[in-house]
Symmetry: C2
Subunit: 546 residues, 2 copies
Amino acid sequence: MRRFLINQGKSLLDNTRRQHHTTRRFLSILPSTSAPVPVPSRAPLVSLSRFLSSTSKMAASDSASSLPVTIDSINPKVLKCEYAVRGEIVNIAQKLQDDLKSNKDAYPFDEIIYCNIGNPQSLGQLPIKFFREVLALCDHTSLLDESETHGLFSTDSIDRAWKILDQIPGRATGAYSHSQGIKGLRDTIAAGMEARDGFPVDPNDIFLTDGASPAIHMMLQLLLSSEKDGILCPIPQYPLYSASIALNGGSLVPYYLDEATGWGLEISDLKKQVEEARSKGIAVRALVVINPGNPTGQVLAEENQRDIVNFCKQEGLVLLADEVYQENVYVSDKKFHSFKKVARSLGYGEKDISLVSFQSISKGYYGECGKRGGYMEVTGFTSDVREQIYKLATVNLCSNISGQILASLVMSPPKPGDDSYDSYIAERDGILTSMARRAKTLEEALNNLEGVTCNRAEGAMYLFPRIDLPQKAIEAAETANTAPDAFYCKRLLNATGIVVVPGSGFGQVPGTWHFRCTILPQEEKIPDIVNRLTEFHKSFMDEFRN
Amino acid sequence: MRRFLINQGKSLLDNTRRQHHTTRRFLSILPSTSAPVPVPSRAPLVSLSRFLSSTSKMAASDSASSLPVTIDSINPKVLKCEYAVRGEIVNIAQKLQDDLKSNKDAYPFDEIIYCNIGNPQSLGQLPIKFFREVLALCDHTSLLDESETHGLFSTDSIDRAWKILDQIPGRATGAYSHSQGIKGLRDTIAAGMEARDGFPVDPNDIFLTDGASPAIHMMLQLLLSSEKDGILCPIPQYPLYSASIALNGGSLVPYYLDEATGWGLEISDLKKQVEEARSKGIAVRALVVINPGNPTGQVLAEENQRDIVNFCKQEGLVLLADEVYQENVYVSDKKFHSFKKVARSLGYGEKDISLVSFQSISKGYYGECGKRGGYMEVTGFTSDVREQIYKLATVNLCSNISGQILASLVMSPPKPGDDSYDSYIAERDGILTSMARRAKTLEEALNNLEGVTCNRAEGAMYLFPRIDLPQKAIEAAETANTAPDAFYCKRLLNATGIVVVPGSGFGQVPGTWHFRCTILPQEEKIPDIVNRLTEFHKSFMDEFRN
């Protein structure tokens, strides 16, 4: 029974082809002359029904020809959009996890380890206590009137809750707020950014959103009218950008990060790609830079950032700065600098450069992904364009107030002398130093594998190793109708329970293969993960070595 | 000074023209032969700078010709989109409110009363205690380990928090959840819906979202490929629909609700509009029904609902049922029936009809707008189309967990025998009966005004009175470059501090004028609002009577 189920799972995993479509899309975007893998068009999804039963309902509706909506009648932009971070491999992993409960003996592992997504608390990281104390007090404000509360909560969390409640009109934490977010919280955030950068921040430039994703969608929706509008995106990139560009009907104009120089960003490549896009009639509207990098983990040098800012100025591009990993830097020779600070240091003001910086409470050391808080700072737009951005914000009324409160807290944590300060610092530094150790251990382990090279994770939460796959593995993937890196990742999942995302979901130089793996499993689990990964990789290479 | 400021404000208010554009858009959609008001194209926004200073930065960037993004280069769909509920009049009100702080003597009122939006807690309604207790315990879980907690929280809130935490993988309330929402919470919601309707609900049909708005956007994004795809929407409608249709590049196909029969929905009119749209080459994809109605407040009769379901079945339309006011019914002769229940009662199953029901935690008696919780139940779609809906959900990762928890709580409130039950019932019934009284008082007051007729608010949170504006007022509006109903609403705001939304923001039969007013100000304020409104209306009519 055990062997049967394993083999069944393996065959199911290998036979699927969704990942492949992602590959194809990227290959068609990238200026490549040869696609390394032939891709059949619209191959049917094969017999995944058992494993997909909880998100789709094959039995109920598959033969229902009388239903009005068909896959051919929906918005083709939706069909085109792909989001690998929660794509097919994660769906399979979720089904395996369900199956594990009843069929423990059927698998060579006890649990699924989700290294596919930067979701620290799902892997056991605890929330920062001060933040949650304040949140609870703001949710259930009558606690503030009870004497027992002083025994249960730190004094600074009580003070902070009062301060925040006084910033909310009518202290109504259950009311829609201003569409940009509660003004007093934006003041706090602006002050935190000013302290970080040393340059003034106008709270009215801040738009609070449900995580950074809706802010990114909003800006791309503003900038993209048709496929004749292009956005320069790094390859590899975080697939939210390609997904949102696809949904908004624009064109992704790729520029390559150079793996050989630690995922460096070459201005000459940017220039080349802009010129090529323009020669095809594409108006390049903006440049996306992710710093620290996702999935690549590099932290840009300040000089490189200056070049990028100057490039945007010269070429008339909006700079979309994804800075959600600004607190995740693990190496002493690199430091995070916001693009706003770099631009202002160069002397560029409001009238010189259009710059949007995205921030999130999902990342950092706090990792409050489920609270869906985030914001963007929008500078360098004319007032009529700003009004349109504001209008877009109003259509969804406002972002959730708990996320707004948390966004203000992470930009204004306890200070020396506060009741919570010592425990807060211990929590924060404990998480960040452990992440740095985990990144180092995993990086070294990956570099010890045959045919694998991995740049260091200077920041963010990921490693993005390159795998030199043997020709036989590539052929086997081809036979299984799967991209080679997806083939590897599915095999890895099946053998170890470790979930990673194939490089084809992020884009990569054609003919190279990667995967993205988070550094987030709790530290005590890392040795076991290294062992499982090493053992799997050996046996994979033994099976397919040329 | 006092008189100067009033007049200055009045002139600012009258000179603006945004509302006008809204009118024009609706007029161009509606099958009308004559536009009652000539509209200049692209008239500049006039001297609102003092009143708009906190959301736009005229001084900094207006003359900045070197910035890359101009109003002519942004996505024209964004320009086309309008959202009157948070439109120009609300912006002006916010500025007036700020100005009131320092210039109390300049205005004939002490406060701004926001009747523009269904936002109960902003007007003083308190949250339901049980819900907030559970939320606080889930936010700050270590409270559950403290003995003092039993003195501070009800026993059923503690039990419920444990139950919910056990439903969340790893009890991690700070982790991204499944993209459809936490499975255990969906189970609870499904059970609540089953109890309501008496028909089975599959938890995997439920998609939890940050309020109902993102769910509505998601479905419209799926269905709309171009302006050749149309969505049947009621006129008057909630402007989220027109905004989202504009952003997604589709066509709004209007059908009129009949004011004379209490905002009845005539199948014959639906049929006529579908045929007319089809004759123009528009593929009508879906029918939006808002029940109880927004802005109109009617509750559909079950027979009418059956006709609507049959119509959708016959015409091959997706039925998009906006049921966010399902708990807000104020009259004993009407009752809320979900469209799902009506469809199933008619014998239509999964294979027969495509039906999406939207629900929100912002409305009901709880009014937790700021928590941004909601969901849709998606039934009657083929598995491949469902996969695309799921993919759209994954792109934003998941909705906020506090909103998810609240969505489960409102569908599973305390039961007889629970510690919180009596206080919960008292809170719930207190709010609902007060809302019913407020609706009645305001309706009667409106019907007492010269030239005003107002249907009863059977449900939802709004009244939508019709004003028979004198010709002289229409001409004055024309001179002021403003739609007549917007002219009236701005005058009302200026004279009383009461914020309502002009009917032109929702659509109305050409040549008729309305405004939407919520029933939400706290009950003790209603007499004063009635007085202010009555006094204003008298003086307005005296000024403009033919």
